[in-house]
């Protein structure tokens, strides 16, 4: 369980996060939403231990994360960021096997190999396993990185805009995979997401930030209302619910 207390992050004179206190739910998908500059990614990076807060605390299972070593934290929390600068020429299988690095430090055991196999199968990447990353499409690359993060076998996965620049089919594939990860394996997924409809239809829980402050925090149904979204994005919304889910329309209103 991850809890943040009175978290602040200041860059120079600009305050990016102001006094955030909340407890993230365990198991299931939690989406962090909000307009640009709301501080979503900053919050995620602080929880990932990749960024130091200016003040405040983050605790993981009642332990301060600042007291947990990087090597140990990698057994509990896996982080996937956007990686446009990633230019290592690795095959998909090699990349995924690096998900076992926190445990194996380079010497893969039978157990590691089994987990790598499972991750490849989980995302249906068998046909790509020997392809080099730089030969893949954006969507395939993102699937490969996700498989690596899954192979890390952590309870918690932190994903920073995993759907960015993906076509609809890949975006849906990734969200369905995350759904299965939570439902079948009981893992906790925390992601920053821009597309409100993906957030509304695939998350159990939604946390909304605006200008560095916590705006809404609740189940998907509680947060996704016309008035909430209007105050969050300063846009009119029409929410159309059907038996397949809901559609947040903000066009032509």
């Amino acid at each position: 369980m991850i809890t943040v207390q009175n978290l602040n992050k200041v860059y120079g004179t600009k305050s990016v996060l102001t006094d955030i206190s909340l407890t993230f739910p365990t198991a299931g998908i939690t989406s962090l939403i909000g307009p640009n500059g709301a501080g979503k990614s900053t919050l995620l990076m602080i929880i990932a231990k990749l960024l130091e807060p200016s003040s405040g605390h983050v605790s993981f299972n009642s332990r301060q994360i600042s007291d947990i070593k990087t090597a140990e934290y990698a057994h509990r929390v896996a982080t996937l960021r956007q990686s446009p600068g990633f230019n290592l020429r690795l095959t998909v299988e090699e990349l995924i096997s690096f998900g076992r690095f926190p445990y194996s430090r380079g010497h893969l055991t039978q157990d590691d190999k089994k987990i790598i196999e499972e991750s490849i199968e989980f995302l249906d990447l068998q046909h790509l396993r020997n392809s080099y990353l730089d030969e893949l499409s954006g969507g395939q690359r993102q699937m490969a990185f996700l498989a690596m993060t899954i192979a890390q076998k952590t309870d918690v996965l932190l994903l920073d805009e995993p759907l960015n620049n993906l076509d609809m089919r890949h975006a849906v594939q990734i969200m369905q995979a995350l759904r299965r990860l939570c439902d079948e394996q009981g893992r906790t997924v925390l992601l920053v997401i821009h597309d409100i409809n993906f957030a509304a239809n695939y998350s159990d829980h939604i946390i909304a930030l605006k200008n560095g402050t916590l705006k809404f925090n609740g189940t998907s149904e509680q947060v996704i209302t016309e008035t909430n979204l209007k105050s969050l994005y300063e846009l009119d919304f029409e929410i159309i619910r059907s038996k397949h889910g809901c559609l947040c329309n903000y066009f032509n209103l």
């Binding site: 982080t79 990686s83 990633f86 290592l88 690095f101």
Partner: protein, 313 residues
């Protein structure tokens, strides 16, 4: 592939032992001719060992730097490291003329390390990170360090001799004058043990931390290994550019960059390239020799240009 490369390596080794001004016939060796054995043990074998260790060391240094900086065109010659080692050596020579080899080595190493750290600090401050811009910056930075060295040498009236002995040349390698190069051996072993971690470094700081790797300490180990290799090779044989650039790039094209798998190929490739350049240098104006700094610079420079023109991403 590794088999074919090993065969090539063996052939080159035998050629390197046989070729030279002093005719060396295998039959003389079998007859137990003292002259022949002396040529072999005092000159040819030390030279070959120095070539192999330098070749492996420089190509491994290149690949480590490329993973730390995350740029495929970086190597000791394109990041200021080589020029800094030169400068350090020069300063130790003029300030402490009595200094022994290990003191010189420490000076060269510290300068090389400091220059690499400054180079990394510079490129971390650059917003616009174009792939080709970074080695260009490194070359400029290296030229500045090199001009400081030359100015210093000029003031101390050793400019000409400096240019002579700093150009990579294996003809000076004879028994009892090259043993420092063996320090590259432990570097190679450590590089193998750390191969997996260096690959993780190449994924960038955030991904390394997320995989539980101490980024700064691993990068520091990498830079120290590079500094040791570069300074030992500068002191023993002089500067040899581009080996660390050409071989890793060629290997990456074909075998990728998972170092725990490709490091043996990179190492063997570096040794082969250097032996080949050395044999070329010995044959071009036979019975005289062209220094390897020139042949490697020429061969490596052309290949560097081809790689840039082919547009490696």
């Amino acid at each position: 592939m590794i088999l074919r490369l090993s065969i090539l390596f063996m052939v080159l080794c035998i050629a390197s032992l046989t070729i030279g001004v002093q005719q060396l016939a295998w039959s003389d060796l079998l007859d137990g001719s003292k002259d022949a054995w002396l040529t072999l043990t005092a000159s040819r074998i030390p030279r070959l060992i120095a070539l192999i260790l330098t070749g492996i060391g420089l190509s491994i240094s290149g690949v480590i730097l490329q993973h730390i900086v995350r740029n495929k065109f970086v190597e000791p010659a394109t990041s200021g490291g080589l020029d800094a080692a030169k400068l350090g050596l020069l300063i130790s020579l003029t300030m402490l003329p009595e200094a022994n080899t290990s003191t010189k080595m420490i000076f060269a190493m510290l300068f090389c390390l400091a220059a690499s750290l400054i180079f990394i600090a510079i490129i971390n401050r650059i917003e616009f990170k174009n792939t080709v811009l970074i080695p260009v910056l490194g070359l400029m930075y290296g030229s500045v360090l090199s001009s400081i060295a030359e100015f210093y040498a000029y003031k101390n009236n050793i400019l000409q001799s400096m240019q002579g002995w700093l150009l990579g040349d294996f003809s000076r390698v004879v028994q009892e004058h090259y043993e420092l190069i063996y320090i590259i051996l432990p570097v190679i072993i450590l590089a193998y043990l750390y191969a997996h971690r260096f690959t993780v470094l190449g994924m960038g700081e955030e991904m390394s931390s997320s995989l539980g790797l101490g980024y700064a300490s691993t990068a520091a180990i990498g830079l120290i290994l590079v500094a040791i290799t570069v300074s030992a090779s500068v002191i023993t044989v002089g500067t040899i550019p581009f080996v660390g650039l050409v071989i890793p790039n060629l290997v990456a094209l074909k075998y990728g960059e998972n170092l725990s798998r490709t490091l043996p190929i990179v190492a063997l490739g570096g040794a082969c390239l250097l032996i080949l350049c050395d044999i070329l240098g010995r044959l071009v104006i036979y019975p005289f020799e062209v220094p390897i700094g020139l042949t490697a610079g020429g061969v490596g420079g052309v290949m560097f240009l081809i790689l840039i023109l082919r547009g490696i991403k």
